[in-house]
């Protein structure tokens, strides 16, 4: 576009973007501005509350101080329960997600129908949030850790299956060809040419999901599915703010510890 102009016109003038690019940029900025204005003007909030919010927040945090450790033993027990929920659910989910990943990867799925089934399992598992799964399983298993484990597991299958499926799709096909040329059966090809290539991704994804599940397990108790969330809910309901802050500190410690452990494992294994 610029090249078509006579040289002397282009020389006394410089701009970073072409006209079209600039229009695109201004256009998107305008769009963002309009969307924000629409959201601000129509959202259903009581603005007095908004202006009052900082002092309300300050007030709440004031009441939380200092944290009250008197209930620490039962808090720690609930934390242990939370860890167990996350760990067991991750283990079960890993086992279930393997065949799902196998049928939802384009290069290993037996046929179009299985591919479709695999994709459907992944999408439905991933699109429904852990909390919603937990609501359902609390209704089935009753309040407690089992509902929590199953809820976390159902949500994790989609995550693990999707990432493992992608890892399977990215493998080097050449060893597969070599083993086909040796006359190996399908299962042995999977065992020797696919599994070793996917193994690092398998561990990385499982550890990552365990880390995420640790965080997710902390809220299960709010809908009655076990773990630390139960105690948090109880403390909030009784306005026991010092205990709330104690629970929050423990959760923080748990999550940070989980992150340290998972990054250590990742380094160790990969």
């Amino acid at each position: 576009m610029m090249n078509a102009q006579p040289l002397h016109q282009t020389l006394d003038h410089w701009s970073r973007f072409t006209l079209r690019q600039r229009l695109m940029r201004y256009g998107s900025m305008m769009l963002v501005f309009l969307v924000v204005a629409w959201a601000l003007s129509s959202i259903d909030v009581i603005w007095e509350w908004v202006w009052d919010a900082p002092s309300q927040m300050g007030d709440l945090f004031g009441r939380m101080m200092p944290p009250d450790p008197s209930n620490l033993p039962s808090i720690l027990e609930a934390i242990w329960q939370t860890v167990n929920i996350a760990t067991l659910a991750t283990m079960f989910a890993v086992v279930v997600s393997l065949p799902v990943a196998y049928i939802s990867a384009q290069n290993t799925t037996p046929n179009a129908v299985t591919l479709w089934i695999g994709r459907f399992i992944l999408v439905s598992s991933r699109s429904v949030n852990t909390i919603i799964w937990a609501l359902l399983f609390v209704a089935i298993f009753g309040p407690g850790i089992v509902a929590g484990i199953v809820a976390i597991m159902f949500r994790s299958i989609g995550f693990l299956g999707k990432l493992l499926g992608e890892a399977i799709e990215e493998i080097d096909q050449r060893p597969v060809e070599a083993l086909e040329a040796c006359g190996a059966s399908r299962f042995k090809i999977v065992l020797y040419a696919i599994v070793p290539q996917v193994l690092p991704a398998f561990f990385a994804v499982s550890i990552l999901r365990w880390d995420i599940n640790l965080r997710e397990s902390t809220v299960l108790g709010l809908v009655g599915a076990g773990g630390i969330g139960m105690i948090l809910q109880g403390a909030i309901d009784t306005f026991n703010w010092p205990e709330v802050s104690m629970v929050l500190i423990t959760i923080l410690a748990l999550v940070v510890l989980g992150e340290v452990v998972s990054s250590y494992l990742r380094k160790k294994i990969l």
């Binding site: 909030v45 067991l88 609501l135 709010l222 948090l232």
Partner: protein, 264 residues
Amino acid sequence: MNAVKDTWHKPPFIKSPALRYGLYAAVAIYVVLTLATLPIDWDRVSDGMRRAQRIFSGAFPPNFERSGLLIDGFLESLKIAILATVGGIALSVPLAFMAARNISVKPVYFLGRGIIIVARSFHPVIVAIIFVKAVGFGPFAGALTLVVYSVGFVAKLLAERIEEIDFGQVEAMRSVGAGFIPTLAYAVFPQIMPRLVGLGIYQLDSNLRASAVVGIVGAGGIGATLANAFGRYDYDFALAITMVIVGVILVSEAVSGFIRKRIA
């Protein structure tokens, strides 16, 4: 020829046998113990199966009659997500500079990292409960929650991007005597801008997702509608809402993926 070996064992992943078998045993004991102590009450489960059946039969067919309520709930979720994304990014940019090792000074760096870690560690639902208690029910609590959620994600990744920038450009700006702000504007911002836009679009998508959940504890949006329907045993309406949530999430994921691919 007789000297040729005819046995072979795969070298184990963990060399020391004591450590290896110790680890296997520890894992086995952990799994057995935690599984054995799981409080599964089979009477409760069979009872629950009936209950589940009631839920499912109550849920079919999904009921779209109150679509007005559904749409209102969604619009509110969308507004929450938009405002939280904008607010979250506005907070994330300064925070990311604070938490970038190569730009920031030590005390500020630790402060920035600390804020990010706290923001990341708490599940949005927990944050939402606290905000609901502090500022009352409704979308404002939801927006505040998702601002915290966005900061935890955007500021962390943006800080990592800032730490990876080509520092030569910063030195070049300093060498011509530019101040701190012009240096940021000319040498740092152009390098992190694409990443920031990408993160913003991604975050809008995940805020929309999360807003469906935080509503369950009273922070407004479609989640509140869902929790109400569930609480009133309107399972057919709840299923309709869930189906629409899944649909919207899929669409929003596809759109955000498409846009990010285009600008990348």
